[in-house]
């Protein structure tokens, strides 16, 4: 049902306008194309009324009002610009510039600074006010961000962002008068504070007070007007956060979240430190031409023709001589659905490989076994359900590491809605806010889940806690509280960490599934359970059937294998250990991690993360989003489509899709199934 909004008629700069009741003068002006300068106001944040840059004259009164916080009134006469208003704005701007160290030419934010832009706009080309030369500390303790209080204008955007968007309230004002500072917790450094390092504060900062440590020099980034903003999504952890990637001359300058007051997502465009900063890091050695390992173990560059011939030849040979049983394929589940389909089809249909899997196949098998144990197919709940749950039980996961946004949501849920958050596991995801926290090792969790289950069956005290769990009296009390809270909860949600799924104890996962079932299903008929997955597109990989129900082991006699990689991170490559066994392994990878050099025999370069487009499936499998290409791959690097097309041709395989578009359709179709 639509509520009827009353309209208000007022005059702005002589123009009669009609706006909704309750909007501010600033909104009314903007809706009607009248520009009023602002600094502390931000579209995604609550209005603050602090910088006073948006002052306007109302009904001729000499006392000006801040238009960002003054609601419109019927018959109001507003003047947004006249000589006096401009004088006030310029004077205040000069006060701001002179208050602290605002020397643009030495500031990393120059060229991307709202304060600087406003100075140009108000034609403030010199100061009539002398500088105060106050000295404030600079906080460089964080890996990604610098806080330089000398460039702070105390607009409070960061404070509001930290509270309203992140829900953390790490940032606040401290001290009074000229000593005013943005403080973190109780005057802590960024690293010592409870900050998650999401960088939302930095994104909303209108000056150089909070600066990205990457790409922050003018010589690198130039002026913001020369940047190309690309609206896309982040595919790093499966939450598919919408981002804007700013690119200049094929360089990624920065990644920002698409902040809004409401964007239909519980995070409101927040982004986490992974999404904001990871892509800016120097990722490792890029592979920009095909390489082959010689008998002596040294790597040499090869031509595309040679490498494609070599790899397809080996695969063909093995297929002909030993059959598909001697061929394996392993893919990273950080890749797009399209690439995964390309790979899968090439391996299974082109090479008849018996074993195709992802690096996180272990988890997939554990989860699918558990689902079978439950005797009913279960569908995971959407992560967007988290804010609606009255209780969240997080098991065995440091969500602040795997899906930082989820830990933020839990903190916000607790602070804003009194959501009950129980954490069972080694690491506390949201330290200050967790009332139910059982810091136990992962291996003890199955025991606790079992006890939880019996406790809920109404054996009274739920007290038969297994001695093996070795809980002290405090922990026992907390455990009982959790049991009580869960039994009272109407709308709980379990979140199971990826490590736990990797424990390979289907019975224990099945316990959780059945516990979740005790409270019925979510409104969308899904189970009250979310399983966090290790890679950005694990859910896609699982759905596309690449994660195999059979485990690849080093015991088989492998003669050839193809590995498809996507990330600079090589921590999971240990899985390749033991697979070699004298056979030939080729890898298709954007990077050349050192650990690959003795595990594979040939390397085929491919575009990196931001250089490829494709669809990704969210961690819960509920949605699929399209990721745009932000950067061009280095010259001489073929994209996956070309590589697989050429390999397929050489092994005589004709896939059913003729174009990338066809492929996308196919992938989408399979995922939806």
């Amino acid at each position: 049902m639509e509520t009827k909004v009353n309209k208000v008629k007022l005059t702005i700069d002589g123009k009669e306008v009609l706006v909704d009741e309750g909007v501010t003068i600033l909104e009314a002006a903007r809706q009607n194309g009248i520009k009023i300068p602002t600094l502390c106001q931000h579209e995604a944040l609550s209005n603050w009324g602090g910088c006073r840059m948006c002052v306007v004259e109302v009904d001729g009164s000499p006392k000006l009002v801040a238009s960002c916080v003054m609601p419109v009134r019927n018959g109001m006469g507003v003047v947004t610009t006249n000589d006096y208003i401009l004088e006030c704005r310029r004077t205040m701007l000069e006060f701001i510039f002179a208050e602290r160290n605002h020397y643009c030419m030495f500031c990393p934010q120059s060229g991307d600074c709202e304060l600087q832009n406003l100075a140009y706009e108000l034609q403030m080309d010199h100061l009539t006010v002398t500088f105060s030369f106050n000295k404030f500390p600079t906080d460089v303790t964080n890996e990604y961000m610098v806080i330089d209080h000398n460039r702070c204008i105390l607009c409070g955007r960061c404070v509001r962002a930290c509270k309203e968007i992140v829900g953390a309230s790490v940032l606040n004002f401290q001290n009074r008068g000229p000593k005013n500072l943005i403080g973190m917790d109780l005057n802590q450094s960024r690293e010592q504070s409870t900050c998650h390092g999401d960088g939302v504060c930095m994104q909303v900062c209108p000056t150089g007070a909070m600066v990205n440590r990457y790409r922050s020099h003018y010589a690198v980034k130039g002026h913001s007007k020369d940047w190309q903003p690309l609206e896309t999504v982040c595919s790093q952890c499966g939450l598919l956060c919408p981002t804007v990637n700013f690119v200049k001359d094929n360089n990624l300058i920065k990644i920002e979240g698409r902040l809004t007051r409401t964007n239909g997502r519980p995070d409101r465009g927040q982004l986490c430190r992974k999404g904001r900063f990871e892509a800016l890091k120097n990722a490792g050695i890029r592979l920009d031409s095909p390489m082959v390992r010689s008998g002596s173990g040294t790597w040499k560059t090869a031509t595309w023709d040679d490498i494609l011939k070599l790899v397809s030849g080996k695969l063909n040979d093995v297929k002909k001589k030993e059959g598909g049983e001697a061929i394996f394929g392993l893919a990273s589940s950080a890749l797009s659905n399209e690439e995964l389909v390309l790979f899968r089809d090439f391996m299974t249909q082109g090479c008849s490989a018996a074993y195709v899997d992802t690096f996180d196949g272990t988890h997939f098998r554990a989860v699918s076994d558990a689902a079978k144990e439950g005797k009913e197919a279960f569908r995971e709940a959407s992560w967007k359900m988290i804010p609606e749950a009255d209780m969240v039980i997080l098991l065995g996961e440091d969500a602040s590491q795997s899906q930082p946004m989820i830990s933020t949501l839990l903190g916000k849920g607790f602070l804003e809605r009194g959501q009950k958050v129980a954490v069972l596991g080694k690491t506390d995801p949201v330290p200050p806010y967790t009332p139910y926290y059982l810091p136990v090792v992962d291996s003890a969790l199955p025991l606790l889940v079992g006890a939880l289950k019996t406790g809920l069956k109404g054996s009274g005290d739920g007290g038969k806690l297994p001695a093996k769990a070795r809980l002290d009296a405090d922990a026992v009390r907390v455990f009982h509280e959790i049991v009580k809270a869960f039994s009272e909860s109407a709308n709980p949600l379990f979140i199971v960490g990826e490590k736990l799924a990797g424990l390979e104890d289907p019975a224990f996962l099945a316990d959780i599934v059945s516990l979740a079932k005790q409270k019925g299903l979510c409104p969308d008929k899904s189970s009250r359970l979310i399983i966090l997955k290790p890679r950005g597109n694990s859910a896609g990989a699982w759905k596309l059937g690449i994660s195999s129900s059979k485990k690849i082991s080093g015991k088989s006699k492998w003669k050839a294998g193809l590995v498809l990689l996507g990330e600079p991170d090589d921590s999971y490559l240990a899985a390749l250990e033991g697979l070699k066994g004298g056979g030939f392994i080729a890898a298709i990878s954007p990077y050349f991690p050192e650990s690959l050099s003795d595990k594979v025999d040939a390397l085929i370069p491919k575009p990196a993360w931001l250089e490829e487009e494709g669809t990704f499936t969210s961690v819960d499998g509920h949605e699929t989003a399209y990721k745009q290409k932000s950067l061009r791959a280095p010259a001489g690097v073929m994209d996956s489509w070309e590589i697989f097309k050429k390999l397929a041709e050489r092994v005589g395989f004709k896939p059913g899709y003729r174009s990338w578009k066809d492929l996308s359709k196919k992938a989408e179709h399979e995922i939806k199934k």
Binding site: N47, G50, A66, E99, L154, F173, R176, G177, N180
Partner: protein
């Protein structure tokens, strides 16, 4: 009930606790017990009595005798005298500051007598920790009436009708505020009490909370009933532990008695309240910041709208009232709006409590009806300014208020008038400042406070106050620049009109108000590099030097006296002063008024020490000045100003001609000052030394008669007019022309010309300045039998130097105060009597003195045969000033062009001394002479394109020795000739200091000139 014969009410406010009332109370109880009086005499510890500076105070009833500064050690004597022997202990009574007269009872002490107690009606009377005592004084009766007989609307109407306005400072009608909140929809509403008193020097709210906490609770319950609230908070700063303690007791007692909590008085109305302790941020007195603070957040103001009446605490409709406002409410409901509105002005009703502090004699809390003149508060209740200093201004409204200067002492203090004068009522802090306060420094101080207390949310308040402070600090540090004042004005205006909350909007007030009333002080700081109040130490080596119009190096010559290097000391004197032995006798020693020694005991006797040098050292020999320049300068008038200018110019190498109409040089020094103050040989020697520099002195030459003005203009490069004010002003009353009615100037000139004028037997001198005293004492010496000075005001208003008045009185001269002649009567053209009229003092005039107003039917006749008029002096121009192109002011004085001290509108014509300033001091004339010489020289050099003059001065090493400790020692007295002897002739009265006395006195100098790194 037990009956006591006497009650001792000892003050238990924070102020008296600090000065020892708890110890005194303990001693008192012990002493009464010891003497077996405990059953007869009851000791009650009350809340703040209000007379805080005199604490610990106690009042003994039924007599109402009030004792001040009662320490535990005084108790045995007090009990012995008062309670055993039945005698009032005089030693501990209040003493009238001016007369020193002891006043026994509270009702008679003007501080109390002139107050009108409504909010403070229970102060010092009840024990604040006993609810019964409050109830016995009609406590909670208003609340009972409101709850049982009145509807919310009726309560609001009563408060509206009473005209009560917010006592927190803004003066918003309380009833209206309540009406808005009562009409605002919502089940949960809050009543809040603002007890976050943070103005420096303000303690009204604390005192009310300590002395009468139930009055606030009662007000809050009534307010709650009016708006439909069931929960209240008192936001009290944690720095008020006693107030919080007593509030807690009061809340507990009220709850116990069913006067607070649920179902109050069985009416079914519930209201509970809590104390919320604030952490002491000034901004938390602002209503939205206060609410934010109660919500547990950092106390920062929120934008309005929404107003608290709609969305206040936790976004619920709320009202916030100040302690004093709420303390009024119970009485308004009980006694009715008409009773309340019975005092006050048209728009400001009731009374207002002020915390009177600063340079005033009676410091404490005062409650007066709205519209009471400021002067009444400062002088009649406050007892005037301490140490005989002059009132300068009162800062009203705390650090964001404004100053009300001396010319507005008559201003009725109410919301409208105070705002009109550029101040704010604020919560009622009233800081009195005397002449030793510098307006710029005060503005800087208050700006510093506001800057520190800005919450930092909005730019203008946070950054703007910093910037304004930087400019003010620069000005005070001597780094002020042209344009600074305009910047301050512009910024003040921007901050006022753009800041988010009241703190920022009012922070520029002290600057605006000082600029309004003391702009000249800002200009003196910036342009003349001078702090007229001698406060901003960046401008001077020592305060005495800065106070001296000719910047004499006082600490140096005092140090040289101490080192017994008198010849060097004499050289130091002559560097700046051509007449040191004259000034050692007749100077009005402004230096001493600013002497820092006076903060320890008394000022150093600088004048006497100066004379000591000239009395005891050989006068350094002066060489004839070298004539190095071709320009010739004419100086007209051989008074102190002309002589000084002539000397300076001669020393700079000019040929100087000095004209004077009289046979001898000296001007007023010779013709105005009688020989008993300034012996002729002293005068002659100093003048002849100057003339000996090679100055051509043309005596008996009247310009305009003996020499034509035009001729002078042609013959001389520059002319300096130092012609003084040579004619006495006439009285203008009937009979002024009678023989025997003389002008003081003319009379004194006759005396000093040695013409021995005839004096009457009975002489009346009209006036109160130095000339009046000189004429009176001269007349006495010439044989008058009785001499009476008739002065229209009081002694403290007399412009004459205090020691001169003393001397005159000692010699038997009678002074008739508050009287003025209305006509002179005589026969045959000869004076026979002066008919005078009595005066009463009325309103304050612009100088801060009370205006004499004639009393009807108060004429009386003085039987005199001579009247000497000493009521003013006028200049006589030797030529037509208009034709000469010289501007003349309304007071018939020469006008000096802006930006210069001596240049007139006519080219190369300069003027200085009395003809520019009106009658002034010797040292003032000397200063003018210096300025004139410097400006004439500079003008000539500028015209010639020469480099500025650089003086060559002899270096004299000054001993740098400071005493480690300072002990209180009385100032030296100068020996005088006995009265009976001295009035026989014109011998010098003051005898000069002995070496011992001089050394001791010089040692009293604190050596402010020495900087310890």
């Amino acid at each position: 009930m037990k009956v006591f014969r006497s009650h001792i009410l000892i003050c238990g406010g924070t102020g008296c606790h600090a000065s020892g009332s708890l110890e005194a109370k303990k001693a008192l109880l012990a002493e009464l017990d010891k003497r077996g009086l405990a059953g007869e005499i009851k000791v009650v510890e009350t809340g703040c009595n209000g007379f805080c500076a005199m604490g610990p105070v106690m009042v003994v009833y039924p007599e109402g005798v009030m004792y001040m500064m009662v320490q535990a050690g005084d108790i045995p004597e007090l009990v012995e005298e008062h309670f055993v022997k039945g005698r009032v202990l005089k030693r501990l009574l209040y003493k009238e500051p001016l007369t020193g007269e002891a006043i026994p009872t509270m009702q008679e002490i003007p501080f109390f007598a002139l107050q009108d107690l409504r909010v403070l009606r229970n102060r010092g009377i009840i024990d604040p920790e006993k609810i019964e005592e409050y109830i016995a004084r009609d406590g909670y009766a208003g609340m009972a009436k409101a709850l049982t007989e009145m509807t919310p609307d009726a309560i609001i109407k009563e408060v509206m009708d009473s005209g009560l306005r917010g006592r927190g400072g803004a003066g918003f009608p309380t009833g209206l505020k309540w009406r808005f909140a009562s009409q605002s929809p919502g089940d949960i509403k809050y009543v809040l009490c603002n007890a976050d008193e943070g103005d420096p020097g303000a303690f009204m709210d604390r005192s009310v909370l300590e002395a009468d906490p139930h009055a606030v609770l009662e007000g809050m319950v009534i307010a709650a009933k009016a708006i439909g609230s069931h929960q209240g908070y008192i936001y009290c700063r944690a720095e008020y532990p006693l107030a919080i303690h007593r509030l807690n007791i009061a809340i507990d007692q009220a709850k116990e008695a069913g006067l607070l909590g649920s179902d109050i008085l069985g009416t079914g109305f519930d209201f509970d309240l809590e104390i919320y302790q604030g952490a002491g941020a000034f901004v938390c007195g602002e209503e939205t910041a206060l609410m934010t603070s109660i919500e547990g957040k950092r106390g920062m103001p929120r934008p309005r709208p929404p107003f608290p009446a709609i969305a206040g605490l936790w976004q619920r409709p709320s009202i916030l009232n100040n302690v004093e406002t709420l303390a009024n409410v119970g009485q308004i409901i009980l006694r009715g709006a008409a009773w309340y509105a019975g005092v006050g002005t048209t728009k400001s009703k009731g009374t207002k409590v002020f915390a009177l502090t600063g340079d005033v004699n009676n410091i404490g809390l005062v409650e007066v009806p709205m519209g009471t003149p400021l002067g009444t508060i400062v002088y009649d209740i406050g007892g005037g300014i301490a140490k005989g200093k002059k009132f300068k201004a009162a800062q009203l409204g705390g650090p964001s208020g404004g100053m009300i200067p001396i010319q507005h002492l008559n201003a009725p203090v109410d919301y409208e008038k105070v705002a009109e004068l550029g101040a704010i009522m604020g919560s009622g802090g009233l800081i009195v400042m005397n002449e030793d306060s510098c307006a710029v420094d005060m503005a800087r101080f208050f700006m510093d406070f506001c800057k520190d207390e800005s919450c930092g949310k909005c730019t203008p308040c946070r950054a703007g106050t910093q910037k304004m402070l930087e400019i003010l600090t620069n000005i005070c540090n001597g780094k002020g620049k042209e344009g600074d004042i305009e910047k301050l004005e512009k910024w003040a205006n921007v901050i006022k009109n753009t800041a988010l909350c009241g703190l920022g909007q009012t922070a520029p007030n002290p600057v605006l108000s000082t600029l309004r009333y003391f702009r000249d002080e800002y200009e003196a700081h910036i342009r003349e590099k001078r702090c007229p109040a001698v406060v901003c130490s960046a401008f001077f080596k020592t305060p005495c030097m800065h106070a001296c119009p000719i910047n004499m190096d006082i600490p140096s010559y005092l140090a040289l006296i101490k080192a017994d290097r008198l010849e060097d000391a004499y050289k130091v004197l002559l560097k700046t002063n051509p007449f040191p032995s004259i000034c050692g006798r007749v100077c009005n020693h402004k230096c001493e008024t600013k002497c820092r020694r006076s903060t320890v005991d008394e000022a150093v006797g600088i004048k006497h020490l100066k004379r000591y040098i000239t009395d005891n050292a050989a006068r350094p020999r002066l060489e004839k000045a070298q004539l190095t320049r071709k320009e010739k300068i004419a100086v007209i008038g051989a008074g102190p100003s002309g002589l000084t200018a002539a000397r300076d110019l001669a020393l700079r190498g000019y040929a100087v001609t000095l004209f004077d109409q009289f046979p001898e040089a000296g001007g007023m020094l010779r013709w105005g000052i009688p020989a008993y103050r300034l012996p002729r040989e002293i005068l002659d020697q100093e003048i002849s030394d100057i003339l000996a520099l090679g100055i051509e002195f043309r005596n008996n030459t009247k310009v305009g008669v003996d020499v034509a003005w035009e001729e002078l203009r042609v013959a001389y490069t520059a002319v300096y007019l130092a012609i003084g004010a040579q004619r006495s002003a006439r009285s203008g009353v009937e009979g002024d022309g009678l023989k025997g009615v003389d002008g003081a100037i003319e009379f004194l000139r006759e005396v000093n010309l040695g013409r021995k004028p005839k004096v009457g037997k009975r002489v009346a001198v009209v006036g109160g300045g130095n000339s009046a005293i000189d004429a009176a004492r001269s007349a006495l010496r010439l044989g008058a039998e009785t001499v009476t000075i008739v002065y229209r005001r009081l002694r403290e208003d007399m412009p004459a130097q205090d020691d001169e008045i003393h001397a005159a009185e000692a010699e038997g001269i009678k002074i008739e105060y508050l009287a003025a002649p209305v006509r002179f009567q005589g026969a045959d053209g000869r004076l026979q009597s002066a008919v005078c009229q009595r005066m009463a003092l009325g309103e304050f005039d612009a100088s801060g003195r009370k205006k004499p107003v004639p009393l009807i039917d108060s004429e009386f006749s003085l039987d005199v045969d001579q009247v000497i008029l000493a009521i003013g002096q006028e200049a006589i121009f030797p030529f037509d000033a208009g034709r000469a192109g010289i501007g003349v002011t309304r007071r018939k004085l020469i006008e000096v062009v802006k930006g210069s001290k001596t240049a007139t509108a006519a080219a190369m014509v300069f003027a200085g001394g009395d003809v520019v300033t009106g009658p002034d001091t010797v040292v003032g004339a000397v200063a003018a002479g210096h300025h004139a010489a410097a400006e004439i020289d500079a003008a000539i050099r500028l015209r010639n394109g020469e480099a500025p003059y650089v003086p060559v001065e002899e270096e004299i090493a000054i001993p740098m020795v400071v005493d480690e400790e300072t002990q209180e020692i009385a100032r030296v007295c100068i020996p005088e000739v006995a009265c009976l002897e001295r009035i026989k002739d014109f011998r010098e009265v003051e005898l000069g200091l002995s070496k011992e006395a001089a050394l001791a006195e010089a040692s009293r100098c604190l050596r402010c000139d020495i900087q310890i790194e």
